[in-house]
Amino acid sequence: MFHLLTTWKITMPLSEIADGRIAPRFGIKLDNISKHYGDHVVLDDVSLHVQPGTVTALIGPSGAGKSTFLRCINLLERPDSGTIQVAQHTIEPGKDVSSRDLAALRRTVGMVFQSFNLFPHMSALKNISFPQQKVLGRSKEEADERSMQLLERVGLKEKASQHPGRCSGGQQQRIAIARALALDPGIMLFDEPTSALDPEVGLEVLAVMRELAADGMTMIVVTHEMQFARDVSDTLVVMADCKIIEQGDPRAIMSDPQEARTRRFLRAVLER
């Protein structure tokens, strides 16, 4: 694993993603995560183990706690209790989290949001380069080179100098994916990445995500795209009422759900 990392650091070819010579892949273990706002429980003792290089799709009715759970993984939401194990770090969010652990966690885990959240005052290129310079300490030239590679990869090289306001939603989301990838994360989180896009534009984002999955990136995806969940994910996780109610092979669950709640949800999304 280590020599892979070093060769990749020196050459830094874009193809590393295509032919699998990417930064070390990480799995992540989340155990007994609970969270509530006041009396209102949002996550009730949720555990999930994700193997390196796999794609996990999180589905379920809205209000089930999918997004909150995803946001607990990189501590955008602070769970009340539980443990997070990633990249040799064990984090207990219920207690004080050292800034070193937090930094390590956020370096390992990249995130893509439903609303893109690109920085509107920076060009597409700057959006991708700026975090590299600040977080990884890359020089402007190194960062820009890497950014251009990634922009090309998501098919938006010609948008480098444009500000996000001039890009379509699908383009913005692809830039946002490039921005997260530029920091060489071992795991990528996607929070309903296509929900703010019309179906046709969503396809171009899904295409990038499929490619990323094929490259072997560890991915956790909250989504309503059932097709994507079935075809691309290795594990399907169904959440309802603040809990994981069912998980396993996506095709098996979709064709033969064990839980009544899952059946009800799947009927609603598949048979429309």
Binding site: R106, M111, H121, P131, V135, R179
Partner: protein, 202 residues
Amino acid sequence: MTIMLTLSAFAIGIVGAVPLAVGLSSSNILVRLATRLFVDLVRGVPIIVWLFLLKFGIQIGTFKFNPVAAAVVGLGVVSIAYLAEIYRGGLQGVPRGQGEAANALGLTRGTTFYRVMVPQAFRIVSPSIATYLTGLLKDSSIASTIIVTEMVFQSQAFARQHPSVEGILPYIIVGILYIVLSLPVAYLSRRLDSRMRKAVYA
């Protein structure tokens, strides 16, 4: 004198309001309470009262404010309070997702604040700041009441010596002067605003 007063008070305000705005949006309730108290106290009292208090109410040993210093400090402190409130509104106007994205990327708090939040907040508040500056220009006339020889004070002096119709004349001139001074501020702020909008969407 009017320009000097306005610009010094504005300079004090625009810098001094930064830490106060941070305090106003702090997650620490004590800091928030203290800054909120300061801002509301300063804004709750008319400028003319502050100037009188500073000029005639403060004596530390042999130290007393001279009129100009009292006016600059008074207008400056009031500017800090008003601008802090404007900044705070601007910072809250930046979408929540921006801070979350910066956090998720692992940017430090300082970088997030100065490179992500502040530039966006500045775009939001720049028209309000320009409005405040034109207001301040005119409010500086209140300094005439503590014998600062700015434009209105001099008009009053002239009027006192010429208690006939012509005593009005300097007020008319001063009125025109205020307009002439405030127009460029309004013009520049509109230009700045439209340029920044272009920068974002171009």
